[in-house]
Symmetry: C2
Subunit: 412 residues, 2 copies
């Protein structure tokens, strides 16, 4: 049985455009994965009349309303009080909520600020939704034909509470649905229009829906199906998609490019060292995001200056003079140098012009050279990336990681 659901996000920084409302999309995504569609979503500011009006309106129209924000300890946090007013209930000190807040601080050997007590003032006849990750308990109440769930605005806390406490209650009310199953294949090296073009003339198994998303510079290919035969259908669709898009698929589901490169290095028992110039440490940061990086990574050099390239990587002064730091020759020397210095199996180097300054007619902004050395074979190539500084740095970082992934793939 499907439910009539709305999502309401509150906060001045959301309505005035300052901050992106990521909570609403997250909620819609999680509900969607379980077979539920959201009918409408709304955003209002920290304005009493707007919040009250939205709560009353939605409670009258919908079966489930999920509200985020306004549960904090500051004066701008109005949700509980307004919910009480909107639904004609008294605002009372909820003992269970107060106990949870106290326990949260005690567990961390921290003092509870008196302001945090405000977070235990909830509408009469609310049920607490425990917050494992923060101070603000959420709460739920039933009004007319509607179940309203009030969650914190902090994304990690909101998601945890939604999955652990709200979803089961929703599922109980709806008697379960046919969860939507989804496979996400992540692609690097093809533009979205190009990926879409490749799917023209392809017939996916009946019952499998196709959608695309973009997370620059990656394209996400999403395959969805529901019902009992969802899994075998998606298996077939996934095989078909991989055949179509090889070798551009670098990850699936929640995997990341850096995470997969790290995993493949660990599995292969190989180590890598990095020499970064224009990317300034971004690649090292990405490779060390996941725990266990010390299995394959023991050092990286951010050689932003020519002197550093010479000192740490033994790039010869002649090369730095001509053809210069942004060249195939320099990238190669950097890759060999870091590999040798670190004693690692692989050496990866990135040198380029991130902009907006530093470009020339021969080497415009966006010119980046990558080099990869394994002691026996070497690979070096120049690119011309476009866009602004951060976009060029991000593109160069991802391309460098993709080089490593493809190298490791070729060894399998």
């Amino acid at each position: 049985m499907s439910l009539n659901i709305a999502v309401l996000a509150t906060g001045d920084e959301l309505i005035n455009g300052e901050m992106a409302d990521t909570n609403t999309s997250r909620i819609a995504g999680i509900l969607g994965a379980h077979g539920y569609t959201v009918g409408e979503s709304r955003v209002v500011g920290d304005v009493e009349e707007e919040i009250e009006s939205a709560l009353c309106d939605l409670a009258g129209k919908r079966e489930v309303v999920i509200v985020t924000g306004g549960l904090g300890p500051t004066e701008d946090d109005l949700t509980a009080r307004i919910a009480a007013k909107a639904f004609g209930r008294r605002l009372v000190l909820n003992d269970e909520a107060l106990a949870q807040i106290r326990a949260f601080f005690a567990k961390r050997n921290m003092e509870m600020n008196p302001r945090n007590e405000k977070q235990a003032l909830l509408p009469l006849k609310s049920t607490i939704l425990g917050n494992r990750l923060g101070t603000a308990p959420g709460f739920t109440l039933h009004q007319q034909n509607c179940d309203l769930f009030f969650l914190p605005g902090v994304p990690k806390e909101m998601v945890d509470m939604l999955e652990q406490q709200v979803l089961p209650r929703i599922q109980q009310r709806s008697g379960g649905t046919a969860p939507l199953q989804e496979r996400i294949l992540k692609v690097f090296g093809l533009s979205e229009p190009r990926v879409e073009e490749l799917f023209d003339g392809q017939t996916l198994p009946t019952g499998v829906a196709l959608a695309f998303g973009v997370d620059f510079p990656f394209v996400h290919v999403k395959l969805r199906a529901s019902g009992e035969s969802a899994e075998p259908l998606l298996d077939r669709a996934e095989v078909q998609t991989r055949q179509l898009l090889e070798p551009y698929v670098f990850a699936n589901g929640q995997e990341t490019l850096a995470g997969n490169v790290g995993r493949m290095l660990t599995d292969a028992g190989l180590t890598i060292a990095l020499a970064e110039s224009c990317t300034g440490g971004i690649v090292a940061g990405m490779l060390t995001e996941l725990p266990g990086a010390s299995a394959f990574f023991e050092r990286g050099a951010v050689t932003y200056s020519n002197t550093a390239k010479h000192d740490w990587l033994q790039v010869p002064p002649e090369i730095l003079q001509n053809p210069g730091a942004v060249s195939e020759a320099c990238a190669l020397a950097m890759a060999r140098g870091i590999r040798s210095t670190a004693g690692s199996d692989l050496g990866l180097a990135i040198t380029g012009i991130a902009g907006p300054d530093g470009g020339s007619p021969e080497k415009p902004v966006g010119t980046v050279f990558l080099a990869l050395s394994d002691g026996q074979n070497e690979q070096v190539k120049g690119y011309r990336f476009s866009g602004e500084r951060d976009r060029i740095r991000r593109m160069a970082s991802c391309m460098a990681l993709e080089w490593v992934r493809r190298y490791l793939n070729s060894r399998l």
Copy 2:
């Protein structure tokens, strides 16, 4: 005179969370800069009943409604037809719209696809809003006390139409407004409740509104005022706030911590070199975000292993043995070592346990030591940060940059 404004975005990919609704935030930002506040914003899918219901509801409640999406030539593009139905008007072929669409294609020496004619079918008594950048003309109509503006979903086209055609009409209706002016002071080192607590008992100048935002680990303090005396009022409020929150204010407006540190280093004519272990290159990446970093930064070491700490930074093996890599002694040695190796004015080192593994009772996950050396004076301190791996790394990175900022501040 202020106006009662709502924004409505339509599209399945928006309501199901696949795509971020950036149009609504853009609109709110542009309107905000001109002194207008949005009362509420809504998102619905490509569902007739939902779109119709939202249009009727908002037209009855608001003075201005801005609608984005659904003006394209495909079958999913329903907006014009549903607006006609919602407001009881016939859908008619609008000659001016058709002429504009034809002219758009002619100008580009392209054929008009017959599908594009659908884009000229608009509700009776609509006024065209010309689209300089795409095929779909927008349109506006007056219903009850409400002016509705229907804009394309393509962001570039939407923004252009909003600024060129919608804003002047809104300003005409409102007789102009007093643009809202805002100052944002960014704070590091105090929690949001603590910042709020400090404002208790403070009286800001009349007419200045105060709001808070959080962007972990930073707190944003926002001061707002409108009208002719906005600027002097905000000047006074800003002085008062800075006095209250010194020395925790690290930036204002769009400035960032890393950006300000870079600027201060450049102004002081000082250079810095980094030795990062658990932060894996994040600090170097932050410092090189803005152009011109080569003025103060020439190298950083990501010494993830003990061997690298010894090789590149000359950290003595005895220290790596005992008290170990995560210690005051090691952090100090790293800071001295990178400073000496790089020949920079300042050496900054970070070594710690980002987790989730690697902790012990004496040195739990989150234990991080920072050290800063300028050749004459040294500073070293241990912290216990909490949270997950990425949160610990982010906190350590920001604290390290804050150390440099405060050091540079003390020299002014």
